[in-house]
Amino acid sequence: MAILVTPKTKLLVQGITGEFGARHAKLSLDYGTQLVAGVTPGKGGQFFEHGGAKVPIFDTVADAVKQTGATASAVFVPPPFAADAILEGVDAGLDLVVAITEGIPVRDMVRAKQAMAGSKTRLIGPNCPGIVTPGTGKDSHGGCRIGIAPGYIHKQGNIGVVSRSGTLTYEAVWQLTSRGVGQSTCVGIGGDPVNGTSHLDVIKLFMADPETKGIIMIGEIGGSAEEEAAEWIAKHGKKPVAGFIAGATAPPGRRMGHAGAIVSGGKGTAEAKISAFKAAGIGVAATPSDMAETLLKMM
């Protein structure tokens, strides 16, 4: 079943004519994802063409949804306009909005998150690599790829992966695939302090998904989302979970690349997160090289 998206999910891309959006729209088409529409205000009526595919472009998300039945969106819109783009997707009734954009002001996200409370739309991100539900073809072709992750490193299977970081997710996925172990769905929730979906949200989905048999949860310094997920897992977890926390060597008070990766006022340390993992029975990888191995030993 996978979570959030399946190979049948119809995707639209907001910002499809921008360089970043276009490049990854092409890669999603190459991967076999059902990319059915693009949205760029002012370019409605044009087409996004790649490898024989002709994807219609619309002025508004609402139009795109009406004409194509898209249920999910990838947002590649530049930071000053990204929160607006997210809310447009919410208004159009999408099930899922995945915001890839890095650098959205926190205040914009505080407002957007407040504005979308109670809506049916789930937001993933922002500042995230996106979601991949691998397909059954060669190099996992035929899956649903929303965002910027490399598709070919995946393999269809039964491990769920959730992480705040892009390359660290790829690292974990590749460790699994290299050992012949596939993934149900891989979700990058993003490295910003305000995000739409937390570790815990994704963990709950994985626990409820019959196809997911084990979970890799990757966290990093900053905030307390990992601790919250660990606490829930301790009480309700029914599947093996292994994890890694990045940033044990990060100096306090400094932002480590991601806007949310900061230890401030003694809060959000790797140490606290690792001990929360251990207390919850989550297997902690001693190094980022051992993420897959740590989980597989538990299974």
Binding site: R107, A149, L168
Partner: protein, 401 residues
């Protein structure tokens, strides 16, 4: 981005928050004039405050041996002497590290008669993505210690971002702080101003410690922000030209400034193994694995998803200008990026910089075979690692004998 105390107070003042009278000074003569003005307006006690982006100034020591980056005095002549002792000298505090910070700006202000010190801050509660106001009757001390030992003395109030700060919330917090009458009204007004500063300036944090009840020059009790600290959301700076102008490059590491010109995210650390990595999460994890195998990272460096030849070359130059670097660890997971393009970039960068230090490269991902071939045929004496762990152990071995 961080700003100085005097800049934070300027912002707060714009939103109606009372701060002590004072002026910014760059020379002892300016300090003299500022102090004279304060004395003339009835201030009996003055304070000379070093402006650096670090806490613990009062208990800090200058490299000249002069003690205290924040000093009280009574006359303009004394203020001038203090300014002479501070300006152009390096102040070391518990937060600056042993290198300290050069003091080139002072705030000379009135030092009111403080009756009580309170604490106030506005920040983002990441748990529910809402603005959070924190206030305490325990001001002028380390708030983390208060939170740990007497958490009941900290009042927390969330603000609905759609509604903004409400009057009743101001009254509620004032009451919780034990303020009555006119002071309670002042507090509610001040809270609204502090929240507005946080919201409209796109601050990540506004902290007023201490917020003081003072005896005003008119003899009435007043609520004044005696110290202030503001951190700003870098992502929102594009819409605040006035705040951008407050950036003080002297407070930032020259290497970090250089790195930012190439869109590299670089943070200097104290170890001996430099890292060059794509992606923030992987970059942190690379630092961790170096430590795991017994050495220390010299930096955090995220070259981003692209990692072009120019970026890699710039990154090498920045890494190599840190004299404590003894070896370099390049850890790239080329997801979309072609590993061969990265390998070509590494070879070119090594040749251009004339690298003499041990270099360990771990490449994985797209077109990795071609990338490894490029490295092998380059004639460079670099070491390759198969996994992150393998490469990390190899690089650690080059520095730990």
């Amino acid at each position: 981005m961080n700003i100085h105390e005097y800049q934070a107070k300027q912002l707060l003042k714009q939103y109606g928050v009372a701060v002590p009278d004072g002026d910014v000074c760059k020379t002892p003569e300016e300090a003299f004039a500022a102090a004279q003005k304060l004395v003339a307006t009835g201030h009996k006690m003055l304070v000379v405050k070093s402006q650096i982006h670090a806490g613990g100034r009062g208990k800090g020591t200058f490299k000249s041996g002069f003690k205290g980056g924040v000093k009280l005095c009574k006359t303009a002549a004394e203020a001038k002497d203090l300014a002479t002792a501070m300006l152009g000298n390096v102040l070391v505090t518990k937060q600056t590290g042993p290198d300290g910070r050069l003091v080139s700006t002072l705030l000379v202000a009135g030092a009111p008669n403080i009756k009580k010190e309170l604490y106030l801050a506005v920040l983002l509660d990441r748990g529910n993505s809402r603005p959070l106001i924190m206030a305490s009757t325990e001001g002028g001390v380390d708030i983390e210690e208060v939170a740990e030992k007497t958490p009941e003395k900290i009042v927390k109030e969330h603000v609905d971002p759609g509604m903004g700060f409400q009057g009743w919330q101001g009254r509620k917090i004032a009451a919780a702080l034990g303020l009555k009458g006119d002071l309670a009204n002042q507090c509610a007004k001040l809270l609204a101003g502090v929240y507005k500063t946080w919201w409209e300036a796109d601050a990540s944090m506004v902290e007023i410690n201490p917020l003081c009840i003072i005896e005003g020059t008119d003899g009435k009790d007043q609520l004044v922000a005696v110290d202030a600290k503001i951190g700003l959301d870098d992502n929102a700076l594009y819409r605040h030209k006035d705040i951008q102008a407050m950036r003080d490059l002297a407070e930032e590491s020259p290497l970090e400034i250089e790195a930012s010109k190439f869109n590299l995210n670089y943070i200097k650390l104290d170890g001996s193994i430099a890292c060059l990595v794509n992606g923030a999460g992987l970059a942190m994890a690379t630092m961790d694995i170096i430590q795991h195998y017994g050495a220390s990272p010299a930096n955090f460096l995220d070259v981003g998803g692209g990692a072009s030849k120019d970026q890699v070359t710039a990154a090498f130059k920045i890494i190599l200008s840190d004299p404590s670097v003894k070896a370099i660890f390049v850890n790239i997971f080329g997801g979309i990026m072609d590993c061969n393009v990265i390998a070509t970039g590494i070879v070119a960068a090594v040749k251009e910089t004339g690298l003499k230090l041990p270099l360990v490269v771990r490449l994985e991902g797209n077109n990795v075979a071609a990338g490894k071939k490029t490295l092998a045929e380059s004639g460079l004496t670099l070491i390759t690692g198969d996994s992150m762990a393998d490469a990390a152990q190899k690089v650690v071995k080059t520095v730990v004998k």
